[in-house]
């Protein structure tokens, strides 16, 4: 019958036309046009350096805002000059003097001055944004047009390690003020800074969208070496899709592949495998009102000895390492790997017997949808549950949506928790928050005065001067935390970055992941 034949023909024609159209769009590799496409799983909130605190934000911030000091590639042990050509810490560790380089200018062409530096750092400190604490109690002053001093009440040897953080990026104060920037909590510049950039970095923001995509353009007025890519598109893409995209040449960098996903990467792609600086840890609350069981220090010891760290490493896949202590292995003061906790089932049982608890049952809460470097916490929690079962501890798993879990964690309601900590700046002093009376300690109901000896060690570590003394102080502190603290450091999952063969110069950085300006084209 005629109508049927027509219909079939029409359908066939449509299908063919559709597939032809789609094929047209596929063959557009970006290698020649100097566009770099980076796929990553967004945890982006803002592009305002004074407020950002998330990995994706810092990654973008690093490209857009220059800081006084920076790090060379992935080496975080020594801050090097950026906007400041030199720095000097006074003998008492309280005054940091920085000399500004000349010739630096913002993306609108205006010169970067000492006043911009004072404004930006003061704004960060007084804005009451998430990263404000980094400059708590630090006075910022200009001595002359090219000299800045940062004065702290107590010795602050961590300051040179804090300064490279993109949240301390220098803003064009005139532009920022014109759009509502102030140096107090009334600041209204965020909306502007989310649509345009007011920095002196190698890139400027062309478009910014917290859920989907950020586009950067090379800053034509950049005073330093011109970046290799004219345009960088940073897309929010699922990890599974990231892998296919980079394999197909649709993107050049996939930032968030898990160890499993990065395995069997075809020839022609490069894989950068390093341990990330994120430490996944267990904790047992010390708050008796929350749990009488876990508040018993012997219980924490039983958990620490009961966990099978090697098994967890196998789960975590390539690139991951066991966390020797709460401070990740890359940082000054990290414990050597041989001092990391080891599994000792008999010891764990002995500790449990000594605790006086019989058949303890506890609840382990963790964020169900959170992944750390592509690694979900779920399988880790299951493995811990199985490990502790052998010791005689019954663990009930309580996977909870991130925001609810974070609420419970922050408000100290979790009996046992499985979380991670990434460094705010690559200096061990950031880990003092784990001590009694400090923010993380308090989440566990570990109040000031709970362990005076440990707190004294913390004070000593905070004020020690000179690399050797600091290294020793932080190592001692962690040894003690590993012996008697409420934390069980587990692993540092691997950071697996897959890039196209054409991308050169990639180095993993614990704070900003990758410096886009370092990348070249082969």
């Amino acid at each position: 019958m005629a109508p049927r034949t027509h219909l079939t023909a029409l359908l066939l024609a449509t299908a063919l036309a559709l597939s032809a159209c789609s094929a047209g769009g596929s063959d557009t590799p970006s290698a020649g046009s100097r566009t770099l496409v980076v796929d990553t799983s967004f945890d982006l909130k803002t592009a305002d350096p004074g407020r950002m605190y998330e990995a994706t934000g810092l990654f973008i911030g690093k490209a857009v805002y220059d800081t006084l000091l920076t790090f060379d590639g992935g080496d975080v042990t020594k801050p090097v000059p950026a906007l400041a050509k030199s720095y000097e810490l006074s003998d008492d560790g309280k005054v940091l003097t920085l000399k500004l380089r000349s010739g630096a200018r913002f993306s609108d062409g205006s010169p970067l001055t000492a006043d911009d530096v004072v404004f930006s750092l003061t704004r960060l400190r007084d804005l009451k944004g998430n990263p404000s604490f980094l400059l708590d109690g630090v006075k910022v002053a200009k001595t002359d047009d090219s000299t800045i001093t940062l004065t702290s009440k107590t010795p602050n040897p961590a300051l040179p390690y804090i300064l490279p953080n993109p949240v301390l990026g220098i803003l064009n104060s005139k532009v920022a003020k014109a759009h509502g920037a102030t140096t107090d909590a009334k600041d209204k510049a965020e909306q502007y800074l989310n649509s345009a950039s007011a920095g002196s970095g190698p890139y400027i923001i062309e478009s910014f969208n917290v859920s989907n995509q950020v586009v950067l353009r090379a800053n034509k007025k950049y005073y330093g070496d011109k970046p290799a890519y004219d345009k960088v598109v940073i897309r929010n893409v699922e990890a599974a899709t990231q892998k296919l995209n980079v394999q197909r040449g649709d993107s050049q960098i996939a930032l968030n592949l898990s160890g499993d996903q990065a395995r069997n990467t075809p020839a022609g792609l490069q894989v950068k495998r390093t341990a990330s600086a994120n430490v996944i840890f267990l904790f047992a609350t010390r708050n008796k009102a929350v749990s009488k069981t876990t508040a018993n220090p012997k219980f924490a010891e039983a958990v620490r000895k009961g966990v099978d760290y090697k098994g967890l490493l196998e789960l975590a896949g390539e690139g991951s390492v066991q966390a020797p202590g709460i401070i990740p292995s890359q940082l000054l003061g990290a414990l050597p790997p041989e001092q990391a906790p080891k599994r000792d089932v008999a010891g764990a049982k002995a500790a449990l017997a000594a605790s006086g608890l019989t058949d303890p049952k506890v609840e382990l809460e963790y964020p169900s949808e959170l992944t750390v470097n592509g690694l979900s916490l779920q399988p880790l929690a299951e493995r811990v549950q199985a490990n502790l079962k052998e010791v005689g501890i019954t663990v009930a798993l309580k996977p909870t949506p991130l925001t609810t879990a974070a609420d419970n964690y922050r408000n100290g309601k979790e009996e046992m928790g499985l979380w991670y900590w990434g460094p705010d700046h690559p200096d061990p002093s950031g880990y003092l928050v784990f001590l009694p009376g400090k923010p993380v300690g308090l989440r566990l109901g570990w109040k000031a005065g709970a362990d005076k000896e440990l707190e004294a060690m913390g004070d000593k570590a905070a004020t020690a001067l000179g690399d050797d003394a600091r290294k020793q102080a932080f190592a001692d502190l962690q040894t003690r935390l590993n012996d008697s603290g409420p934390y069980v450091p587990l692993i540092q999952p691997g950071q697996n970055i897959v890039t196209a063969a054409s991308v050169t110069g990639l180095a993993y950085h614990p704070v900003w992941t990758v410096d886009l300006a370092d990348l070249g084209v082969k």
Partner: protein, 342 residues
Amino acid sequence: MRSRPLLRFLIRRGLVALLLAWGVTLVTFVLTNLVPGDPAAANLGQRAIDDPAAVAQWRAEHGLDKPLPQQYLVFLEGLLHGDLGTSQQSHRPVSEDLAEFVPATLELAGAAIVISLVLGVAFGLIAALRRDRLADHVLRMVSLIGVSVPTFWLALLAFYVFFYRLQLTPGSGRVDPGLGAPPPLTGLHTLDAALAGRWDIFSSALGHLIMPALVLSLYTIGLLTRFTRSAVLEVLGQDYVRAGRAKGLPGRVILFRYVLRSALVPIITVAGLAFGSLLSGTVLVEAIFAWQGVGQYAFKSATALDLPAIMGVGLVVSGVYLAINLLVDVLYGVIDPRVRLR
């Protein structure tokens, strides 16, 4: 005079839709505020513990210190002025965010609807006319797969096969990153590119659209195929069709004027219903194809406890739903005059 009943019918349906829209605001508001978890803590992070004053200030700034009924009234008042509040994550007015993301989702869902209607009705017709023959079996199998396979899995599979293996379709996003989006007029990339005469962007946007739209439409295609088939079969057995055939009317006339028109009412019902599943499907399809639509925005808002944004998305989605239902009702009236009189 003939339009009167239709007009009255439209007004009545419109009023009902308005009432429903108000109900939606109430239900969404209550539900979003029932979620355990503190938006202030979610947004302030570490500061929420260190600085209770900051929490109080944040709550005051966002009007969360007022009692719930009052918050609802403030929200309603803003809504009447077209103000949906400010998103706590993007720090932009929610209406601006939605204006950016909704067209992307409409483009995707719209393409999926067109594909499902064309293919679903066509497949159903062919299956009915070739009842119990090979084409019928094949099409029924296709529709069964469409209805039963989860959309997110299909999306992953399609991405893997057509993008990665066969290299037929482009990858993530709405348009090739090297080209960039066309000048925004409607927010629909294909339309904007065509209007601007940028045919390179148009073909890239269309290429990016096809696979997610097809994946999204598969469920609806399956559903429509099955319903069209049974509706057409039922009509084919009616006396008036046999009478028409006996009178020697051409097959084309019987098919399109008699059969299809009568079968349209159940088909439209199903199409309207299927639209709901299509909307929920976009969240997953958008995630897998990195489509910059309202689905990803909704997901991000929900995980960040961004109440104004969640409310905004809820309203838009239910608004679209209501509009579709209204359209379905009106179409009934147009196709079947008896409906107007009810």
